[in-house]
Amino acid sequence: MIVFLVNGKEQRVDVSPDTPLLWVLRDKLGLTGTKYGCGEGLCGACTVHIDGRPERSCITPVGDVQGKKVVTIEGIPENHPVKKSWLAQDVSQCGYCQPGQIMSAVALLASKPSPTDADIDSAMSGNLCRCGTYGRIRRAIHAAGGRRARKGGSRS
């Protein structure tokens, strides 16, 4: 039995400890906001927070989160500045990668409240978006972080 917190609630799951956290969230706990994209930690669609750090749940064995705090997209409040900023910039297109993007952005802003473009490049380049919302993601992060959002998500 593996016991851990998900979005503040204790969960006990009886699965093989090598099962990736992603599939426990999706198939056992019904939390489908966290997405499967690659299974290899290459695309970031499955990003969740483990004890506050952004991690790829598709390559994190659930055995490793025993006793830890996991937060998923469903656990980020609706009034969180990042979610509000995402709405204000109308970032989403197909939307599939966005939970992972938001989880990475929330973690970035928690550690760097006013990130530079270079910070954003470094924190967000593990999250793929096939639709091409990168410019808006950059703007939304700057706006949520209080920096003036520049048109087109520019860099210097």
Partner: protein, 723 residues
């Protein structure tokens, strides 16, 4: 589609109207512009696009799949504009599969593709909104015993003489009992919603994480299946031993299906572990001999031989034969995977007399009918519910319905609701790619340096052959192979475009922007070569050759001006320009590029001008241009599917990379308002970016790269040749 289907559809509408206690508008409406050949009596059946509840909620039923392009917002805007409702009360619901939701131009099929959603539904949805408005006004006028002409609708209310006012929700039950106007009139005057950058209606669910994509569908007792597929196309199962797979905890069954061997489990992970434990021997057949290297040699040979003629103006070969100086080049682009972020999947709940499919489909009629065929049911016994699509790009509009058929086959064997999922590797290796293309172009110039003759031979698989759309091929020409080349707008007196459509076992399919994804690269690159050969500015060269095409000219000039064409750039940077029409829209892009010492291309900035005619939502247009540019950049800089010994060599985002945040240039989009008929926006942003970048690379470095992707290796090879 049978009579039975019509009856059940009307019953559905009646039931829905009663259940919701409001007005479900079902009316006879004229269709928009239609392809005469594709039109059938089917398309004249009633339509149902709108529901107004007594709770004031306006629900627009959307018959197009939402895959990022914003149809769950743009199509409701078309209805709401004419309805004169309160936009804050508007919501959307995906339509079921029924004849009234068929495409207005493509015949009796429900499909999302060809960048047609807004332009094919503009008229029908505007009239649906107008008809509902007239009915609500008539209801109020009866209530007040006044003439309808004395009333008007505004923001969800009907306003009458003497300050009288009733809400749409209040009026809905009465309006539902009134006759549907045969010829509803569009409202006069200024638009209140169209042209405004309204927020997407689907954003909140996507940000909360509650939007249900196909892969998120759940049902009590649902099982998950993964399919072990042959390593090569056309391969078959010789035999398999399921003992070890069945020993994996959570694995319930192992069954043979046409696509391979399915491992059925109580979740994705046990299914994957079970599949890894499966022992299968394959009969690879001829598929094992396929290699893209061999194909490229064959295509290069074909490109030098006469093909089927797609366009012939004047006599290009004769002019070239007598030209003092000929310019020749060969271009090549690889197979490409759609690589939607959401891997393909399909949920099936099969009963003895019904079948429920829930999936992200772009081609509901085809998928529904395929499911019925496999299930041994009538099409009307199959319900297909369209979920959100985690990207489409054409992959989810597959005439072969591959991901649906395999799921129904698995469902037939397990007797429980089941979802078949593809891993990323399955998704990338199981086929359906943008074809590999080889193009050979030759040209000569007139005395002023402009093209006198242009002879273009295209080699690549037809995406139509072997599908129900094969009938569209005429005289050996699949238009989707030559679009963007055979209809080039450039003033070239002697123009010849030829086509070879070789067959091979690699499955091909439309890929965002279809033929334009390769023709724009070739035409815009080679034209750039000619401009430089003539010693002319590539922008001015294009202007001169497009003098009779005002919409091309306007976007070209807008993009050039906004990009600061001709102004100095930092050392090592170059600008490249490209302009291309596709799907009824005109796009020009200017890219700013530099080349690093290790051969890496850095795209710094892209300026895009777009004329897509009358517009619905400018923010969506901007987003789709940003999207097309990013999608096209991944192909320009990274994308290639290759085969060796029949095996697809790529499987995941490490060997099939996409553009990431750190690589993303600044993108500026400028909308040129022409007021012309609406064009598409989902695809046209893609074609110009690869040639704009390749042309910028030449401007920055003097290196002309004629094959994609523009990797350090291709740049080095081309640079070596140039030096």
């Amino acid at each position: 589609m049978s009579n039975d289907n019509g009856v059940s559809r009307r019953q559905f509408m009646k039931t829905s109207a009663l259940a919701a206690g409001g007005l479900l508008l079902a009316c006879h409406l004229p269709l928009g512009r239609r392809d005469a050949a594709a039109a059938t009596a089917e398309a004249f059946t009633p339509n149902a696009f709108l529901h107004i509840g007594t709770d004031e909620r306006v629900t627009v039923i959307v018959n197009k799949s939402e895959m990022g392009q914003g149809v769950y917002t743009s199509l409701p805007m078309l209805v709401a504009e004419e309805l004169c409702c309160d936009w804050k009360r508007v919501t959307f619901r995906p339509s079921p599969v029924a004849p009234e939701y068929n495409h207005t131009q493509f015949g009796p099929i429900m499909v999302t593709g060809g960048s047609t959603s807004v332009r094919s539904e503009w008229s029908r949805l505007s009239l649906a909104g107008a008809a509902a408005r007239e009915m609500l006004i008539a209801a109020a006028a009866q209530e007040w015993r006044v003439e309808p002409a004395a009333c008007r609708a505004e923001k969800g209310f009907v306003l009458g003489p003497g300050g009288r006012k009733l809400s749409f929700g209040t009026l809905a039950p009465k309006a539902a009992s009134l006759p549907v106007p045969k010829e509803p009139k569009l409202k006069p005057g200024a638009k209140t919603l169209l042209g405004k950058p309204l927020k997407r209606l689907d954003s909140p669910a996507k940000i909360k994480g509650t939007a249900v994509f196909g892969i998120d569908v759940r049902a009590p007792g649902m099982l998950t299946a993964l399919i072990a597929r042959p390593p090569v196309f056309g391969g078959t199962v010789k035999g398999f031993d399921a003992a070890k797979a069945k020993a994996v905890p959570g694995v319930l069954d192992v069954v043979a299906v046409d696509a391979g061997v399915a491992v059925v489990a109580d979740g994705f992970w046990p299914a994957l572990k079970g599949r890894e434990a499966l022992a299968i021997s394959w009969d690879e057949g001829d598929g094992a001999r396929v290699s893209t290297d061999a194909m490229r040699e064959e295509y290069a040979r074909l490109a030098a031989t006469p093909g089927a003629v797609a366009r012939k103006d004047g006599d290009a070969p004769a002019e070239l034969a007598k030209a003092a100086r000929r310019f020749e080049a060969e271009y090549e682009v690889p197979y490409l995977a759609h690589a939607t972020m959401e891997p393909l999947n399909c949920f099936v709940d099969l009963q003895s007399d019904s079948c429920l499919i829930r999936t992200g489909s772009q081609f509901q009629t085809g998928d529904r009918n395929a499911a019925a065929r496999v299930a041994g049911l009538k099409p009307e016994q199959v319900t297909l519910e369209t979920t959100f699509l985690g990207g489409g790009f054409g992959r989810r509009a597959c005439p072969a319905s591959d991901f649906v058929i395999e799921a129904v086959q698995v469902a037939k064997t397990v007797g429980k609701p089941v979802m078949v999922i593809r891993t990323r590797e399955d998704d990338m290796r199981a086929g359906f790619y943008r074809p590999l293309w080889r193009d050979r172009v030759a040209a000569c110039l007139d005395g002023r340096g402009y093209p006198l003759a242009w002879h273009h031979c295209i080699v690549g698989q037809s995406i139509m052959i072997g599908t129900p759309f094969e009938a569209m091929i005429r005289n050996g020409i699949d238009d989707t192979s030559v679009e963007g080349a055979a209809d080039t707008p450039y003033a070239i007196p002697n123009l010849q475009v030829e086509l070879h459509s070789p067959r091979n076992p690699v499955p091909v399919l439309w890929w965002r922007s279809v033929g334009h994804s390769h023709t724009a690269f070739v035409v815009e690159s080679f034209l750039d070569e000619l401009a430089h050969a003539a010693g002319k500015d590539p922008y001015q060269y294009r202007r001169a050759l497009l003098a009779k095409h005002p919409r091309h000219l306007k976007v070209l000039e807008t993009a050039a001006r906004k990009a600061g064409w001709g102004k100095p750039l930092p050392k090592g940077r170059g600008r490249g320009i490209a302009v291309h029409e596709s799907f009824g829209s005109f796009i020009a892009q200017v890219a700013e590029v530099s080349l690093s010492g290790d051969g890496r291309i850095r795209v710094h900035r892209v300026v895009c001008a777009v004329d897509c005619g009358r517009i619905v939502n400018p923010d969506t247009i901007e987003a789709q241009m940003e999207s097309g540019i990013t999608f096209g950049l991944s192909a320009a800089l990274h994308g290639a599917i290759t085969l060796r010994n029949g095996r697809v060599e790529q499987g995941n985002f490490d060997d099939y990379p996409l553009v990431r945040m750190a690589e993303m240039p600044t993108v500026e989009v400028h909308i040129v308002l022409s007021g012309e008929d609406p064009g598409g926006i989902g695809e046209p942003g893609v074609p110009p970016i690869a040639p704009a970048v390749a042309n910028a690379l030449f401007a920055a470095s003097g290196i002309r790269v004629r094959s994609l992707p523009l990797t350090p290796e291709t740049v080095k090879r081309a640079g070596g040749r140039a030096a």
